[in-house]
């Protein structure tokens, strides 16, 4: 039995030791700046281009369409602002959903200052976005649509290809072209990332969500997609992202993605079974416990609940004291005072959202750990309900 049960894989994952191994030579030995002309630089450059090919293989694109960034947030910012600004003459309207990550939502909002307007699509109670709604939102000013592939809080998987097809058809009917971006940060190594099957023009990934390092993201930009770079300086990444390339982390990101995709079947099966054990062990057994998100169209690793009569943050502290790491979309957890915008958009009341808990499993978890959680968590909730006076489940 391990000392610590980590159930916050949606927040970040430990770096796979094989990935650390792959990165190590690039810190101290093969450390050359890839823009030099000498052997050491060419060695870095070669490693970087190999990494790009690895990523391109997974995305089903050509290596030249892959940019490495400093994270998924940067990739989202670059995609949305870079796409919008490049299309500025064509229009000023963006479409996204109400449940996107803040990197997307706040990028869209930042564009308000430059005359852009954004439509935030509603979702249903399971967190699903409707392709029809998306298509209806397209106007003769729409330039970019960004819809996440899988939600980071409740794990709902969105019909991105259907949405893309719907909005593109509508746009073509209006005689225009639009860019479709998807934030796939939660889907790396888990879902199919083929950009043609997803029918997207841009796609974001974060290495630290699939056992790669933090601080490196991947941005796919389909050839021919209008794009105004957002980070200016040197001519790295074919002038699309300035700054000395972070070779060790780029190598690590590609190796992590390669491994994750190679082991995707096993890991997904493993995670799905642990996830379902959690869901089945809590919903229906603990009174006043509700599953958030879609029951089947959800990430293999994501279990998200609301528990009546407790505050998520207190549950987290209680779990931490038992050596269990989890997260919550409740206010108070992040220092921000608002309940999760995702739960709110799904129609979960502010009262209920207070008691939200996200458990996201990973490849190193095992059934024993889940059983420990199933034993400990109901006790914690019971204890907190006594404190709150809601020991009897709230109607």
């Amino acid at each position: 039995m391990k000392d610590y049960i980590y159930l916050d894989h949606a927040a970040t994952t430990p770096v796979d030791p094989r990935v650390v191994e792959a990165m190590l030579p690039y810190f101290t030995e093969r450390f050359g700046n890839p823009s030099g002309v000498y052997t050491l630089s060419q060695s870095s450059h070669g490693a970087m281009e190999e990494a790009r090919e690895t990523v391109a293989d997974v995305l089903g694109c050509s290596p030249g369409e892959v940019i490495f960034t400093g994270g998924a947030s940067e990739a989202d910012n670059a995609a949305i602002k870079g796409g919008a600004f490049a299309m500025r003459r064509e229009g000023n309207h963006l479409i996204t959903s109400a449940i996107e990550h803040h990197a997307v939502l706040h990028s869209c909002q930042a564009l308000d200052d430059y005359g852009f307007e954004t439509t935030y699509l509603d979702v249903d109670a399971a967190g699903l976005i409707s392709p029809e709604d998306a298509a209806e939102a397209v106007t003769d000013r729409t330039v970019l649509v960004t819809i996440m592939l899988a939600n980071n809080e409740v794990g709902t998987i969105e019909p991105v290809a259907d949405i893309s097809r719907a909005v593109k058809e509508r746009a073509w009917a209006l005689g225009r072209d639009i860019i479709v971006h998807t934030d796939a940060a939660q889907a790396g190594g888990v879902l199919d990332l083929n950009v043609d099957r997803l029918e997207v023009d841009m796609l974001t990934l974060a290495a630290h969500k699939f056992y790669g390092p933090k601080g490196v993201g991947i941005l796919y930009i389909r050839d021919g997609t209008p794009f105004t770079p957002q980070q200016h300086g040197g001519s790295q990444e074919k002038n699309r992202r300035a700054g000395t390339e972070n070779i060790p982390l780029i190598v690590g990101a590609a190796e992590a993605l390669r491994l994750a995709v190679e082991e995707q079947g096993t890991n997904n099966e493993h995670c799905t079974s642990l996830r379902d054990r959690l869901i089945d062990g809590l919903v229906g057994r603990v009174e006043g416990a509700y599953l958030n998100g879609h029951r089947t169209l959800r990430l293999p690793n994501n279990a998200n609940f609301c528990f009546d009569g407790v505050a998520g943050e207190s549950v987290l502290l209680g779990l931490d004291m038992e050596g269990i790491a989890a997260s919550s979309g409740s206010a108070c957890t992040s220092g921000s005072m608002d309940p999760s915008h995702v739960l709110t958009a799904m129609g979960v009341s502010a009262e209920r959202a207070v008691g939200s808990l996200r458990l996201t499993v990973g490849k190193s978890n095992d059934g024993e750990e889940i059983d420990k959680v199933l034993e400990v968590l109901p006790r914690i909730i019971q204890r907190l309900r006594e404190v709150s006076g809601a020991a009897q489940p709230v109607g």
């Binding site: 391990k2 000392d3 610590y4 980590y6 430990p14 009569g309 407790v310 505050a311 943050e313 207190s314 502290l317 004291m321 050596g323 409740s330 206010a331 108070c332 957890t333 220092g335 005072m337 608002d338 309940p339 502010a350 009262e351 959202a353 207070v354 907190l384 006594e386 404190v387 709150s388 006076g389 809601a390």
Partner: protein, 137 residues
Amino acid sequence: MKSALLYRYMPRYSTKVMDHFTNPRNVGVIEDADAVGRERNPACGDTMTLYLKIRDGIIVDARFQTLGCTASIAVSSVTTELVKGKSLEEARMIDRHCLGDAVDGLPPGKTHAGVLVADALKAALGDYKTRAAPDTA
């Protein structure tokens, strides 16, 4: 993963907060309370109910029910201890700063716990006043 590796653990909450969170004192209801104060933070949803028993201007018992984060629970618990034996005047002087101090400080972003509990205390004291002089209500 070895917990020994977490050697640099920086507790966000004081030991006192953790103590009162783990073993909250005076949880529950006073059925025949002389004063009840109920507050809800509309932003984060934390809710506290404070029950006071008052004899000759002195708070002789206090209990609470709190649905809230660690800080809110701990401050609630500390407050029930703090007010017991205090006169109403003394209790009126207790504000969120006192309550923060009483738990050896609250981390940034958690000061709302002190506000919630201070407001509940104020509400309870107000409730007592109202009950004492029903006709001036």
